[in-house]
């Protein structure tokens, strides 16, 4: 009935390894945990998607919404789609991929902290925005949360900041869990010291095989992006948490305030890497899945190990590319940061460029298995290239004067977040859900409708936004100047197609859950409460 099952791992790939918990138990618990994250994050996508649609419908003057409500929706949509859907999904799927390359979870405490603090944080964000009217945008650029022009109180700001802090705690717990899982006995270091383990986890075994030996052969490539992301997000979330704590203190009315430029830097020292909280796990998942469909191991040598060391370091030193336009007179430090961070951002192109090369070489003339899952993945990879080119443009300060805070930026990050990571997420659902649920997809053909509706709908929509941006359409305007209305209407047509495609997907998923027969009896008990 279906061809979406994963082909067997290529020869040479490592089987599931032993661990501190009995194999079957870890497998079952991981399966349940990952499924829970998938269902929860998908529910967040439904909410965030509807909110996004409302935003665009208002811009197209199809519906009307109160001004502050529009911006409250925008705030909830940004955090919801980015963190609560894409970020959360990828955080969950991480543990499935890691297990499959021989790095099973060693404890479920941190993943549970990750799960519940994210859920609570998202609830807080939804309540403070949609009900209490917090509308500072998902970056809530300081000092805006405290200048609401009468639309929300400082207390609401405090609760909102606390909710975001909970999402931050979720990310910290995730990072700790990933490091605990990867810098682990599973590396099978010949000399099992902490130093050897750390070096092996970050790819030194690939670079200097004689100094960093293991008994398990090459380190599986997916481990690299996961581990790199965990370190970077750990380091990046701390300054952001500090900013949130400052804001919570200020919200209690202690007559306390922060320097605006400093706040901007703290925000983006987190705000940049958080983008890679999506990209790096996505890269790791491609590294895992593409070789499965191509029937050979990832074509990657030392270059890829070097690329991830560049990513590890540079990711933390590019934040000022979000502040290129902040160059107040006499603030030489801020200006120099801009000058330095254009080249560091360019350097950060390398991990993407080399990954794309490796993936392309893996697919090249392979016996590639084309099915819905692998088509979604390939479409996501092409978007990685396309949106990556936009990224180079955005990294160029001289171009920012034309692009900053226009709809081009909004088009760009949807091209990256939705059409790269989003398509990967759908691909991963097609690929992994059969083994997670223990049953095949109900209907493969519906998957093709989903694929093409999503690609055409989403590319049509983001292209409209990018053109509007190049024509100077400002970002975050509830009502755009009239000159942009036509393209907004065109994009609404594409969005209708996009929504229809997601309905097809929802129907297919629903029917799979209800009607598709189990082909893996061990999954029956796993599915437990998800049965309709």
């Amino acid at each position: 009935m279906t061809t979406t099952t994963l082909p067997p791992a290529p020869a040479g790939a490592l089987p599931y390894d032993d661990s501190e918990m009995p194999l079957a138990l870890v497998q079952a618990k991981t399966r349940r945990f990952v499924l829970r994250v998938i269902w929860t994050s998908s529910a967040f996508l439904v909410i965030a998607g509807i909110l996004g649609l409302l935003l665009r419908l208002r811009q197209g003057e199809v519906i009307t919404l109160g001004d502050n409500f529009w911006y409250a929706i925008m705030t909830a949509h940004g955090l919801g789609a980015f963190v609560a859907w894409a970020g959360f999904f990828l955080m969950g799927i991480t543990f499935w991929v890691l297990m499959k390359v021989g790095f099973p979870l060693r404890s479920f405490v941190l993943p549970e902290v990750m799960y519940w603090s994210m859920v609570l944080g998202v609830v807080g964000i939804v309540l403070t925005t949609l009900l209490a009217g917090f509308a500072g945008s998902w970056v809530f650029l300081y000092p805006l949360p405290f200048f609401s022009a009468g639309q929300w109180s400082d207390t609401v700001t405090g609760v909102f900041a606390f909710s975001v802090l909970l999402a931050g705690v979720s990310i910290l717990a995730y990072c700790a869990a990933v490091l605990h899982t990867t810098i682990s006995p599973a590396l099978k270091a010949t000399k099992d010291t902490l130093g050897q383990r750390i070096a092996l986890a970050f790819g030194f075994g690939l670079l200097f095989p004689s100094r960093f030996k293991t008994t398990r052969g090459k380190e599986p490539y997916p481990v690299l992006p996961f581990a790199v992301n965990a370190v970077d997000m750990f380091l990046a979330t701390l300054p952001f948490a500090l900013l949130l704590v400052f804001e919570i203190i200020q919200s209690t009315g202690r007559g306390f305030s922060i320097n605006v430029l400093l706040a901007g830097n703290l925000l983006w020292a987190f705000g940049h890497p958080v983008v890679y909280l999506l990209l790096f796990p996505a890269a790791a998942t491609y590294y895992y899945l593409i070789p499965r469909y191509a029937g050979r191991e990832l074509v990657a040598g030392k270059a890829v190990a070097v690329a991830w060391l560049i990513a590890l370091t540079m990711n933390l030193f590019v934040w000022a590319h979000h502040l290129y336009m902040n160059y107040p007179d006499g603030q030489n430090v801020q200006q120099s940061l801009g000058t330095i961070m254009q080249p560091t951002t360019y350097a950060l192109v390398l991990p993407s460029a080399l990954s794309l090369y490796s993936i392309a070489a893996t697919i090249w003339r392979s016996n590639f298995q084309w099915n819905v899952a692998s088509k979604f993945l390939v479409a996501g990879i092409v978007s990685w290239l396309v949106a990556g080119l936009q990224g180079v443009i955005n990294a160029t300060a001289a171009f920012q004067e034309t692009l900053h805070n226009t709809l081009w930026i909004v088009g760009h990050f949807h091209n990256m977040a939705f059409l790269n990571m989003g398509l990967l997420i759908f691909g991963a659902m097609y690929a992994f859900l059969p083994e997670l649920m223990g049953k095949p997809w109900w209907n493969e053909r519906l998957g093709s409708w989903h694929l093409w509706g999503t690609i055409i709908g989403a590319y049509g929509w983001v292209t409209c936004q990018m053109i509007q941006g190049l024509e100077g359409a400002p970002r975050r305007w509830a009502v755009l100047p009239d000159q942009y209305l036509t393209l907004t209407h065109v994009s609404l047509g594409f969005l209708a197609l996009l929504v229809a495609a997601q309905l097809v997907f929802a129907y297919n998923l629903w029917t799979t859950l209800r009607k598709s027969p189990f082909d893996d009896p061990s999954a029956v008990q796993v599915r437990g409460g998800t049965q309709a």
Binding site: G301, G338, N405
Partner: protein, 179 residues
């Protein structure tokens, strides 16, 4: 309507997208039944050895782009030469104070952009509706940016940094440039 810089960006972007798509489709095409590797054709080790050279190639391309563009970063583009007029633009929730409100064609104008409350930005649109300038207004600081006006008419200033629930109404409709 796009500015000439906007058109340049779009053109360069489309060229690279086209090249990228051609390569991508070539790779996908190579998995068709007739073209597949039957176990002798593809030299994986060679592909691995070539990967660093691809990296070098990308670095060279980016270095060229860096050399061409970094000098045009807005903070390098300002010179110290005396300007003909200073125009003070102060943002506040939700409007702009502009002084003076009229300049003449041919004048080299320095805008001093500031804010009274939150972050705003001065997006300057020419009579054709093209955005020709985009300067952040950071509370507590002044940012200076100059422009040589060559075209008379009525210019619009729009706020380009999200500043609250009336952000989209933060418009200064008529900054006059007289002939």
């Amino acid at each position: 309507m796009m500015t000439s810089l906007g058109r340049g960006i779009a053109t360069g972007y489309l060229i690279f997208v086209a090249l990228g798509l051609i390569i991508a489709f070539g790779v996908l095409w190579s998995t068709k039944a007739g073209r597949r590797d039957k176990g002798q054709g593809v030299d994986i080790e060679r592909a691995e050895r070539a990967e660093p050279w691809w990296g070098v190639f990308v670095v060279v391309l980016l270095a060229i782009l860096l050399g061409l563009t970094i000098w045009r970063a807005p903070w390098f583009s300002e010179d110290d030469s005396p300007k003909d007029v200073q125009v003070k633009v102060t943002g506040m929730q939700f409007g702009f104070l502009v002084q003076p409100t009229t300049v003449r064609v041919g004048q080299h104008v320095e805008f001093n952009v500031a804010s009274k409350d939150v972050n705003h930005a001065m997006g300057l649109y020419n009579p054709e509706g093209q955005m020709i300038m985009n300067v952040e207004a950071v509370p507590g600081y002044t940012t200076s940016r100059s422009y040589l006006f060559t075209e008379p008419g009525s210019y619009t200033i729009r706020c380009l940094e999200f500043c609250g629930y009336q952000h989209h109404k933060m418009i200064y409709p008529a900054f006059q440039v007289t002939a």
